[in-house]
């Protein structure tokens, strides 16, 4: 590996030296013309001959045992094909969030899901499903299914679920509790030492912070199509993020061999982690097997809110001990995540969150303790940030409270404590090109931090109060070193000298297909639009581990370089035989290989392919290259977020004026797409900070706001100005120096907003998000009352 690795780095350098042609260019998303025309076929637009429609009966109970299901009336309805439920379906346990076929670690991925189970564990859990000739008939049929339930004690409210002795939401909870998996606890000192060091420090701070359950809010509702044919082959189309793991899970749940299951990703109408885990594909598959017809299962928007995945609600307590200068001596984070009714990604999200503890700040003693807990609510799962937005919101608001208390500028407090490039962090890991300090300094200047902060601070009377705040955040690039992380890419030359690239990665509208075409184009000196990119089809494309962990550009991009470099070598070798020149004497330009000294001595890719196929200089062969890239470096992307906003103290309404993120994502491969990621990440972060929350009735377990009317995502007229800045120094390990952006774009937004709102309100303590008008009004009223008391005391 390491030789190959050095080779590609040298190759990259040779391209950089002569000037990059495609990498770093503002090339629009290659899918956008089709999309602008309305001609892109998303999954709901697919029409398959003979296709019928599926519908799921969702549980109205938060926790209940199914005693009896009577399907006679439903089956008798004309047009109904199949009715499936617990009593007539395979009962194989799985985890829809599984990533590796052999992943059997109970800590990481406990298997707790079934296609249908004997108990339902949240309002929205699956009870039964039907297939029918039309959507309408399927809807009528599920209403005719009669189910007898026996209510079970439930833990709906998260405060209740985490308490020992509360009813078990899922029988897999550890030792009768709701703990999912195990507590994860580690640091560079023991927990006891860390706590002692915090207690004995000159300054000690402790804050508890709550973050909400939010939904991805992708615009394309969840939809799957399954087609099971006489030959025993099941094809599943899904707008998803992880076809290979889907194949593994679906084959397991339906007791099929993997050669009989093919999963194909469709064009994504938005995902953000919400389509990373197997959801109802198994139901669509089983309905198709029973009906022997292609079945489409489309969730309406309400169902998409109640029966998919969401971001883990969290309660975090951060404690820090510092000396007078503001240097962190010790820090402890204790985190509880609400994984909902099933394990899913719970323990793994805790693991991902724990890493963020150590790669942003240094302290002599750093310790993280966290666990996920079951509750009788919809399952949480992967969502852009994956544990990261929660810990950043909690810790960054805590850091600001420390800054205020110690009278240190928030910017200075962070500069004093952040990790440094190429130095070891508290766990002894090399931090690579971690330029967080430069991000802070750049933002300080570009945002005019000192002046704006001061102006806002001096202007805090009247109805509208200005606040200026900032925070910092970090996100990884792939799974290494926690798990293996690899991706394979195949590139094939066409006869006319163009190419096809096969990758198991998933473009979620992020533009990764465009990115790969730029990278391959650079290496092959071929215009990116001449390279077709075929993605994520388990029977056709090579293995990839899914669009998650901010790994697509980093891992897939490196695999693309390896495959393209291999192909380039083959092309050069054949050209060298044709032109009777040593490859060192050859240069490539626009798919022509020629003599360095005499451009007249040349041959085109077309001629080279023809020569190879004819076997003129060796065996007859097709010019293709397949390479796997394995990650051997753990690197992180960083951001510092600056913001200014205004709070209306009469209503509690916040108007955000500007957000300025400074990203350290290494070399930006396509600024246009990069900016799109940042803008979208800010949008998602603003909703997280201010308006979005899935509200669950603590008595019934029902979601109270399952619509875009009631679940408030930011609209165009509410968005602030977004000013993007970068610290672009290349990261050696990344493809052409690139690091990730997708998740980092949203990780730090909420903390900065909370800090600015607190600043606007005279450094008031805020201990949760979202900062809804209602919540802020209560904070403002309490603050006014407290201020009056203080004034009175001062008068005495």
């Amino acid at each position: 590996m390491s030789d190959r690795y050095t080779d590609i780095k040298n190759l990259e350098k040779s391209f950089r030296d002569k000037g990059l042609k495609y990498v770093g260019k503002r090339i629009f998303n290659r899918e956008s013309e089709m999309k602008a025309a309305g001609e892109t076929i998303y999954i709901d637009d697919m029409r398959i001959k003979g296709m019928i429609y599926g519908k799921i009966l969702f549980s109205p109970h938060a926790h209940a045992k199914i005693i009896k299901i009577d399907t006679k009336k439903a089956e008798a309805l004309p047009g109904v094909h199949a009715v499936i439920h617990y009593f007539n379906s395979p009962h194989v346990v799985y985890n829809g969030a599984a990533r590796f076929y052999m992943d059997s670690s109970p800590m990481d991925m406990p298997r707790t899901e079934y296609i249908f189970d004997e108990t339902v564990k949240y309002v929205g859990d699956r009870v039964a499903a039907v297939s029918a000739d039309t959507q309408k008939i399927a809807e009528q049929a599920v209403k005719l299914i009669e189910v007898e339930y026996q209510d079970l004690p439930s833990s709906i409210d998260f405060n209740k679920a985490v308490v020992n002795g509360s009813p078990q939401a899922n029988p897999n909870g550890k030792d009768g509790s709701n703990i999912c998996g195990e507590w994860l606890a580690y640091g560079n000192a023991t927990e006891e030492e860390t706590k002692e060091s915090i207690e004995s420090a000159e300054f000690t701070f402790k804050d508890t912070f709550r973050t909400p359950r939010v939904h991805h809010g992708y615009m394309e509702p969840v939809c799957h199509i399954a087609d099971y044919t006489r030959e025993g082959k099941l094809t599943i189309w899904s707008s998803c993020q992880n076809v290979f793991c889907f194949r593994d899970v679906i084959a397991r749940a339906l007791e099929l061999s993997q050669s009989k299951v093919r999963v194909i990703k469709t064009v994504s109408g938005g995902a953000f982690g919400g389509k990373l885990e197997v959801m109802h594909e198994v139901v669509a598959g089983l309905l198709s097997m029973r009906s022997r017809r292609p079945v489409k299962l489309l969730l309406n928007r309400k169902e998409t809110f109640i029966s998919t995945r969401s971001r883990h609600e969290a309660i975090l307590t951060v404690s820090t001990g510092l000396n007078r200068d503001g240097k962190i001596l010790a820090q402890h984070v204790e985190s509880r995540l609400n994984t909902g009714a099933y394990a899913g990604a719970g323990p793994n999200t805790v693991g991902a969150q724990s890493e963020k503890m150590f790669v942003l700040y240094n302290g002599d003693k750093m310790f993280y303790r966290g666990a996920s807990f079951y509750s009788n609510t919809p399952p949480a799962g992967a969502m852009r940030g994956y544990g990261s937005p929660q810990i950043h919101a909690a810790r960054e608001t805590h850091m600001d409270r420390i800054a205020v208390a110690l009278g240190i500028d928030p910017v200075e407090l962070r500069k004093l404590n952040v990790v440094l490039p190429y130095k070891n962090n508290s766990l002894g890991n090399n931090m690579h090109n971690a330029l967080i300090k430069e991000c802070i300094e750049t933002g300080e200047k570009e945002f005019n931090w000192a002046k704006r902060r001061k102006n806002a601070g001096e202007n805090q009377s009247g109805r509208y109060r200005r606040g200026v705040g900032m925070d910092i955040a970090v996100h990884g690039n792939g799974w290494f070193p926690v798990y293996q992380d690899l991706s394979t890419v195949t590139i094939k030359m066409n006869n006319d000298g163009t190419a096809v690239l096969l990758t198991g990665t998933h473009d979620l509208g992020t533009g990764s297909r465009t990115i790969f075409s730029q990278i391959a184009g650079e290496v092959l000196d071929m215009s990116p639009d001449l390279i077709e990119i075929i993605e994520a089809d388990t029977d056709i494309t090579p293995l990839d581990l899914g669009a998650q962990a901010s790994r697509t550009t980093y891992i897939g991009g490196n695999a693309t370089i390896l495959a393209a470099a291999n192909l380039r070598t083959q092309l050069l070798k054949e050209a060298s035989a044709i032109l009777k020149l040593d490859d060192s004497e050859l240069i490539i330009k626009d798919r022509i290989i020629s003599s360095r000294n005499d451009p007249q001595i040349s041959c085109s890719y077309t001629e080279i392919v023809a020569s190879a196929q004819a076997g003129k200089y060796g065996v007859q062969r097709d010019l293709t290259a397949t390479e796997s890239f394995e990650s051997v470096n753990s690197v992180d992307s960083y951001v510092a977020v600056f913001t200014e906003l205004e709070v209306d103290i009469n209503t509690g309404k916040v108007r955000v004026i500007e957000v300025l993120p400074v990203h350290n994502s290494g070399k930006v491969i396509n600024p246009l797409l990069f900016e799109g990621q940042v803008n979208g990440g800010v949008h998602m972060g603003l909703g997280y900070a201010l308006s979005e929350e899935m509200l669950i009735d603590s008595e019934t377990g029902r979601i109270k706001n399952p619509s875009f009317g009631k679940y408030k995502m930011f609209r165009a007229d509410q968005m602030p100005k977004i000013t993007i800045r970068t610290v672009e120094s290349p990261e050696e390990a990344g493809p052409f120096g690139a690091k990730s952006i997708g998740e980092c774009a949203t990780d730090g937004v909420a903390g900065a907003i909370v800090n600015a709102v607190s600043h606007a309100l005279g450094n008031v303590k805020l201990d949760r998000i979202p900062l809804t008008e209602e919540y802020l009004k209560s904070v403002i009223i309490a603050k006014v009352a407290a201020d009056i008391v203080i004034e009175e005391n001062e008068c005495e």
């Binding site: 025309a37 892109t40 709901d44 509702p221 979208g680 968005m719």
Partner: protein, 162 residues
Amino acid sequence: MDNEILFVELNINGELKYLHINKKWTLLHVLREVLNMTGTKYGCGTNDCGACRVLINGEAKNSCVIPAKNLEGKEIITIEGLQDNGSLNTIQKSFVDAGAIQCGFCTPGMIISTSALLKKNPRPSENEIREGLKDNLCRCTGYVKIVEAVKLSSVRLEGSIG
């Protein structure tokens, strides 16, 4: 009678379509499921997201809540009807060039809203653009490049007229 079937004549993208429809069917249902015109998207079905927008007599409307039977005699334009002799029109091209399209699921609705907006107000201010797009949700772009695309469209359209 819920299942009453009606015969209607709808003018869609300049073509008259003769259809047997259920009186409860929405325009969105008729477009997508009867006519197989899938450029118009289902995002919510509850009048909240704008993914299903079409032009009805030049006004941008959410087709998911409009019964198709009420539309006889009206001029309906969908995303499929905006092209210029088979090529992307100025607004569509501007969305591409501005990088305003990520997953693209909101795009047809956004382009429809932009068409209505620019027809009424060819040189909208930034605030007017944002006001004009506030009924269209997008989860990918933060609306930044969409607003830029509208500005670009406005400049290009003005140029072509002037």
